[in-house]
């Protein structure tokens, strides 16, 4: 039986192997499937976590990016509105920091909510591509510091911009980006803006006829706004003249229509000295008198005929009469007459005549006897017959005088200032006729060229000519002129000739020729020329009580305008300045508050460097950043400080924006430079040189510069060294126009080394109303005097990730 169940050995082994393999294959399959399952499961788990994490990362990154974008958009919006969009809230809110007439300066620190809960549209548009995101921004201005100078209205502050971004409905993810930017706020107006021209140092060019200066003030007649001009006398030439002033020669053609001219002279018609009827027709006439008058000698007062005993015209006539009497004696005695004699020789001649005639009752001998008895050399004062002549003179003399300008007396267009031909006759010769003076100069010039105390008495006095045009191109624009500035015109005077019969022993006609009242300096006393009269000769307003021909040089230059000038005083009150007074109420110092006593020498614009919006080490840095590309356009952004020049703006032709370029050291070269945008625009340029000169580009002629140019040397101020004086080098240009204002230490229109104007060149300064007061309204458009600079750099930047917004 056992054998029955016993399988053949070979069969059972093979069957067993088959059974084993089946299990093995199944095992492999299961193993593979299990491996795949594990892998799939692991992968699924991994993917799910990664995707979740990734999506959160993406969300956060996206939100962070959008929050930054929102901040940038807010900054961009603020920048675009803060200076350029007066109708925007941003514009107004930034300016709310500045004090106004109605609101005092704020207590610092002060915060201003610029925007709150603002939705930056551009960023939101970007965000809504695929996601429904919410973005809200806010910006707060914090102002924490004011300029340390009262004259500078400027503030330091910063803006905090915060933008939050979150997914709508998934508020657990919120990103908040915060950034801070520095802000500089400045009111560019300054006390010097009211000056169209401010020159601290003495200049001898104010009557220059070959280089002209024209100042056009703001045209706003009737209000209290008026351009000012300050003319200083620092570094006046060394001289002994107690008056170290400046004189401006009026010119009939320029000034005849000004009210002051008419008031001073009683009209503006030209007049001439009258001549006797028998005067030849070709006798030179002086017909450029603004005022002409005459008085009998007896009504002048203060002078006596005794002052004329040594006068040539009188003594000559008396000598003629006595010679005639002596000759008459000799003729009557039948002897030959002797030649014409004077003084002691005449006395000898008279003695001989008396001896020859020997008739004490003869009138001729009586006259000779009087001469022999009383004459003392050339002095005939004690002669009775001479006294009769003087009395006749006293009774017949007519004093004539008239007022004219320098251009009528001298050839002011020529360098030597030769006398006009019309002044050749004695009656017109008192000031400029060379024969009456010394050297090659007439009395007026020679008296002031005279060396006294080692220097000329006063060289400024003899710079005669035609005053520069301070009342505009058409002489119709008022300005208020400060400084020791006096107008000047001249008086020509003489005692007119006459013919009259003198009651000598034998009455005889005499002809006393014109006695020229020539100019004599005031300190040379003892002459009828410098003896005060009791009569007033002045036509109006001023005083003239001297017989000499002279300069009337003590009227304020402002009186030429002829009316009260409305203006603001140093305290900002509306006042009226009345120049039509005598003595002249000149304004010696620049306008300043009561109690302040700052001399013009120390005027300038101090700045607080911490208010600077940009600091540049060099002008190269400045130009690279502010005038990029071809360098023709300059972008201004508030108060920009450059440590060292020279700053070469000769390649810059236009500017945009508003700013003050303050150069601590170095010159500034300028060519044509104007606003890019037409006025009315708030764009304006101010350049202040603390230690340097403006240099006009010599390669350009007919230069036009729109800007306020100031070169006031500081540290030291008031130096007599030309290298330490701020000026404008005009580079021999024919025409330089400054539409703004010009404030310099020294101004030389005619100078050696091509630094002045070319011959017949013109420096034309037109006071820009937007410089005079940067808050002006032009043609209905109010301009903005403020500038806000928002820094390009984030001074602080942070993120906050959180939740809760939904």
């Amino acid at each position: 039986m056992l054998e029955l169940f016993k399988l053949p050995e070979k069969i059972s082994e093979s069957k067993m192997r088959i059974a084993d393999r089946r299990g093995f294959i199944l095992y492999i399959v299961i193993t593979v499937l299990l491996g795949l399952a594990i892998m799939a499961f692991a992968l699924n788990t991994f993917k799910t976590g990664a995707v979740t994490q990734l999506s959160r990362n993406v969300d956060q990154n996206r939100l962070a990016l959008l929050a930054q974008s929102a901040n940038s958009e807010v900054i961009a919006m603020l920048k675009s509105q803060v200076n350029l969009n007066p109708s925007s809230q941003t514009f107004a809110k930034f300016r709310s920091v500045f004090p106004t007439a109605g609101s005092p300066p704020p207590a610092l620190p002060v915060t201003v909510d610029l925007i709150s809960n603002f939705e930056p549209q551009k960023t939101v548009q970007l965000a809504k591509v695929g996601y429904n995101l919410k973005i809200r921004s806010s910006a707060v201005l914090t102002v924490f510091r004011r300029s340390s100078l009262n004259s500078m209205s400027a503030y330091n502050g910063y803006i905090d911009v915060i933008s939050k971004a979150w997914r709508e409905g998934a508020g657990e993810i919120t990103m908040e980006a915060h950034e801070r930017r520095d802000v500089r706020l400045i009111d560019l107006r300054h006390t010097l803006d009211k000056y169209a021209l401010f020159v601290k140092n003495y200049s001898n060019d104010y009557n220059n006829t070959s280089r002209r200066l024209i100042v056009d003030g703001i045209k706003n007649v009737g209000t209290h706004d008026i351009s000012r001009i300050f003319i200083g006398t620092d570094n006046y030439p060394t001289c002994v003249d107690p008056r170290k002033d400046l004189w401006f020669d009026i010119y009939y053609d320029d000034h005849k229509d000004l009210q002051g001219f008419a008031q001073i002279f009683g009209g503006n018609n030209l007049k001439e000295f009258p001549l006797a009827a028998e005067t030849p027709a070709d006798y030179p006439k002086f017909n450029r008198l603004f005022f002409e008058s005459n008085k009998p000698f007896t009504s002048l007062g203060g002078v006596s005929v005794g002052m004329f005993v040594m006068n040539k015209q009188v003594t000559n006539e008396y000598e003629r009469v006595i010679n005639f009497a002596a000759d008459a004696c000799m003729t009557a005695a039948g002897v030959a007459t002797e030649p014409y004699r004077v003084a002691a020789a005449l006395k000898t001649k008279c003695q001989k005549a008396i001896q020859k005639l020997g008739n004490p009752n003869a009138y001729a001998q009586m006259m000779c006897q009087d001469f022999v008895d009383k004459a003392a050399g050339g002095n005939y004062a004690n002669c009775e017959e001479f006294k009769k002549l003087l009395v006749t003179c006293q009774q017949n003399w007519t004093y004539r005088w008239g007022y004219t300008d320098a251009a009528s007396l001298w050839k002011v267009d020529t360098p030597g200032r030769a006398p006009q031909d019309s002044t050749m006759p004695d009656r017109y010769a008192g000031l400029s006729n060379i024969s009456m003076g010394s050297g090659n100069y007439g009395p007026y010039m020679s008296e002031y060229r005279e060396v006294s105390g080692g220097a000329q008495y006063n060289p400024e006095r003899w710079h005669v000519g035609v005053m520069q045009q301070f009342y505009g191109s058409d002489n119709d624009t008022p300005v208020l002129i400060e400084g020791k500035a006096y107008m000047r015109f001249f008086k020509l005077a003489y005692l007119d000739e006459f013919t009259a019969t003198v009651p000598f022993f034998n009455p005889a006609p005499v002809n006393i020729r014109v006695i020229t009242s020539k100019y004599l300096r005031k300190d040379k006393t003892g002459s009828f020329l410098t003896t005060p009269l009791t009569a007033e000769l002045a036509s109006n307003l001023y005083s003239d009580k001297l017989m000499k021909s002279r300069a009337i040089d003590d009227l304020s230059l402002n009186s030429l305008w002829g009316e009260k000038i409305k203006c603001y005083n140093g305290d900002g009150q509306q006042v009226e300045y009345d120049p039509m007074q005598y003595p002249a109420p000149i304004i010696e110092k620049p306008a300043q508050p009561a109690g302040s006593n700052v001399p013009a020498t120390r005027f300038g614009r101090a700045v607080d460097f911490r208010n600077a919006s940009w600091n540049y080490v060099s002008s190269t840095d400045f130009l690279a950043e502010r005038a990029p590309g071809d360098g023709k356009l300059l972008y201004l952004d508030g108060f920009m400080y450059i440590m060292a020049g020279d700053l070469d703006l000769s390649g810059v032709t236009h500017f945009q924006g508003k700013g003050l370029i303050y150069i601590a050291r170095g010159n500034c070269r300028l060519g044509n430079l104007e606003r890019l945008n037409d006025q009315p625009t708030s764009d304006s340029l101010r350049i202040y040189l603390r230690q340097g000169d403006f240099i006009i580009n010599p390669a350009v002629d007919d230069v036009v510069i729109e800007g306020s140019l100031t070169a006031f040397y500081d540290d030291p101020q008031g130096s007599s060294d030309p290298l330490q004086q701020g000026s404008i080098i005009l580079s021999d240009r024919t025409r330089v126009t400054i539409y703004g204002n010009l404030l310099v230490d020294s101004l030389d229109l005619e100078a050696s080394g091509n630094s002045g104007l070319a011959e017949n060149g013109v420096l034309h300064i037109i006071h820009d109303p937007a410089v005079y007061n940067a808050a002006v309204t032009l043609n209905g458009t109010p301009l903005d005097p403020y500038h806000v600079s928002i820094g390009p750099v984030k001074t602080s930047f942070s993120f906050r990730a959180g939740g809760e917004e939904s």
């Binding site: 093995f24 795949l36 892998m39 101090a606």
Partner: protein
């Protein structure tokens, strides 16, 4: 372990490699980029970012001084009546010597 069992182990390893390779290929994960040479930029000094050239269409020159028919000025600002005193300049000059040098 006999040879058959080694075959099983190797087949499992092989199948896992194939699976991972396929997964990696079709899962769309990040691929390794060929490394590129980063340009070595000198960073010796941080220059100010200069503005790019702005395109200006034209820079017309007027050369005429504008005249305005209507000009009205507000009352001058209070600070424009302040005059810098000599001590202000002295202070400023000190400031230039100290703070002014710091910006260098």
């Amino acid at each position: 372990m006999d040879n058959a069992r080694w075959i099983v182990v190797l087949s499992v390893i092989l199948s896992m490699m194939v699976t991972l390779t396929l997964l990696k290929r079709y899962a769309g994960g990040p691929r390794l980029e060929t490394p590129t040479t980063v340009e070595n930029v000198a960073q010796t000094e941080s220059a100010r970012p200069a503005e790019q050239n702005r395109s200006v269409i034209s820079l017309p020159s007027r050369r005429e001084i504008p005249r305005f028919g209507q000009v009205s000025f507000p009352k001058p600002a209070v600070h424009t009546f302040s005059v810098d005193q000599p001590r202000d300049f002295d202070k400023m000059n000190e400031s230039i010597k100290n703070e002014g040098a710091l910006i260098r």
